[in-house]
């Protein structure tokens, strides 16, 4: 484990990614403590204040401090994306491992159906599910988890198929272990590494998807200051107060880049052979 971490930090992407994500984590943990104002505090004299001494990142149409809103909103954005991805990964990993273990026509049927579900573009699927669930932060979260599961199942399956050929599975079958035990106790722990890499990269998609759903009105609802919602709010005042869209937009992008870099770093750290 420490060896992996050392190798991770030796890759340029890994070191960058971890640094970015540490800052993002700190913001999520300490955001409300760091915020100079309450995110809902209105100041009608300070409406559309440009970034300056009073409001470091400016103020919005109600004079609410943009920095405070950003710091509070981090909690509705990044941890939510992480949670959605983990839920999707868990369901997908179990499904993919089961499919690989079952093999034969079961495997074929499950995989063709997964292919079919994946024929629906991710955002479209998430949109449809989120609107079915009635919109709001929780349904957006669930929609992303459901939309991610098929892709994760496909990846886990391909890794698990390789694992199935391994001798330890044959040994477990010979020992007379039950199918469930072989899947969960023997195979799942061994297919986890590539799945972790894929999950990390997918968190960045989840951050973007979650923000996009809020932007389209199907995710977090006001008065939340989820970052996608901040962009959507600020869009009306693009001309007079561009910082209202630029600041949360940059925050979304930086967090997503952090997870992408970490994923790439992890991939390199886990495959030392690949020198690219």
């Amino acid at each position: 484990m420490t060896d992996l971490l050392r190798r991770l930090f030796r890759t340029r992407q890994g070191a960058f990614g971890v640094s970015i994500l540490m800052i993002v984590t700190l913001i999520c943990l300490l955001g409300p403590a760091l915020a100079p104002y309450s995110p809902d505090r209105m100041d009608f004299l300070g409406r559309f204040a440009a970034p300056g001494v009073r409001h470091w990142l400016g103020a919005d149409q109600f004079g609410r401090d943009e920095l405070s809103r950003l710091l509070y909103g981090a909690r509705d954005t990044v941890p939510a994306a992480l949670l959605a991805t983990l839920a999707g990964t868990l369901v997908g990993a179990v499904l993919g491992t089961l499919s690989a273990y079952a093999g034969g026509s079961w495997d074929e049927a499950i995989m063709r159906t997964i292919d079919a579900v994946m024929a629906i573009p991710g955002l479209l699927l998430a949109l449809l599910i989120a609107s079915t669930l009635g919109g709001g932060e929780q349904s957006a979260l669930l929609a992303i988890a459901i939309a991610f599961a098929p892709g994760m199942a496909r990846i886990t399956r391909s890794v698990a198929l390789a694992a199935r050929q391994e001798e330890y599975v044959a040994a477990a079958i010979a020992r007379g272990e039950s199918g469930v035990r072989i899947v969960f106790a023997e195979m799942l722990p061994n297919v986890i590494a590539p799945v972790i890499v894929e999950t990390t990269i997918r968190v960045s998609f989840a951050v973007m998807l979650l923000a996009t759903l809020s932007f389209l009105g199907l995710g977090a609802q006001p008065p939340s200051s989820e970052w996608g919602l901040l962009v959507s709010d600020g869009r009306t005042y693009l001309h007079d107060a561009p910082w209202l869209v630029l600041v949360p937009g940059a925050a979304i992008a930086i967090s997503a880049i952090g997870f992408n870099l970490l994923g790439d770093g992890l991939r390199d750290a886990l495959n030392p052979r690949d020198e690219r």
Binding site: A119, I120, P121, L128, T132, T212, G228, H239, V245, I257
Partner: protein, 315 residues
Amino acid sequence: MSLTWLSRRLLLMAYTMLVVAVLVFAITQVLPADAAVTLLGQNATPAALLALRQKLGLTDPTWLQFWHWLWSLLHGNFGTSMRTGLPVGPTMFAALSRSLLLAACSILLMLVIAVPLGVLAALRRGSALDVFASLVSYLGISVPEFVTATFVLVVLADRLGWLPATGYVPLSQHFADGVRHLIAPVLTISLVLIAHVARMMRSETIDVLASDYVRAAQLKGLLRRTVLVRHVLRNALLPVVTVVALDVGYLLGGIIVVEEIFAIPGIGRELLIAIQNRDLPSIQAGALIMAGTYAVANLLADIAYALLDPRLRYD
């Protein structure tokens, strides 16, 4: 490319579309919307609602409703919009044609930029250009379309005033103006595509450059340019075909957002309006047509791949 391969591939596509249809139907069944209430309004009498529900077939068992729906779909009938009262099919296909124009322009711009960028980055690894290319890749992959679109609007339309902010002008109506309205959305969409393809192109080119046949071609004394075009480019481009097809999925997702922001009356915007208004037939048609477009793109990519790679032809 054998006939069995093609027929198996087509069968797979039919199965895909069937699953998609089941899924879309299931999702719209769960949607909290009552067509009868939507049509008659909140104040309609229970008797009138019941009568209309019976007339619309909403009291039938679900499987029968699905069967009726699928049957009319197969006859090209997508139903009537609950919002406008117009047939959904023609509306959606007209919108799709505008989206396809946007998509085609974006893919074209992507190819023109991403392929040379990826190859050059691979030829000069570690150079400023390589660093720039990987920076563009990270940005393209990590910035959601609605943010890119907003940035493009702020800079190109608002601050610099080079482009019109939003809206759509058909090319047939006023060509130059139509093109000007397309620039910002095309830039937004192609950034993601450039990111994916430039990255793929770079790593493929690096692989191909290290291969034996390229070394052999170089040792044979072929011109550097000949080796690059005939051996490196040709082989490195092959996997890109698949990436482009997969990217059509991102593209269709991105198009929903981009059309909404730039107010382009394409299929993504139609679908969003349908979702906001709980217009079930339009949601179903929009989702199905988008998924169908993606399926066709993947089919074409597979066929292109089989034609380009002789090893796959006799599978």
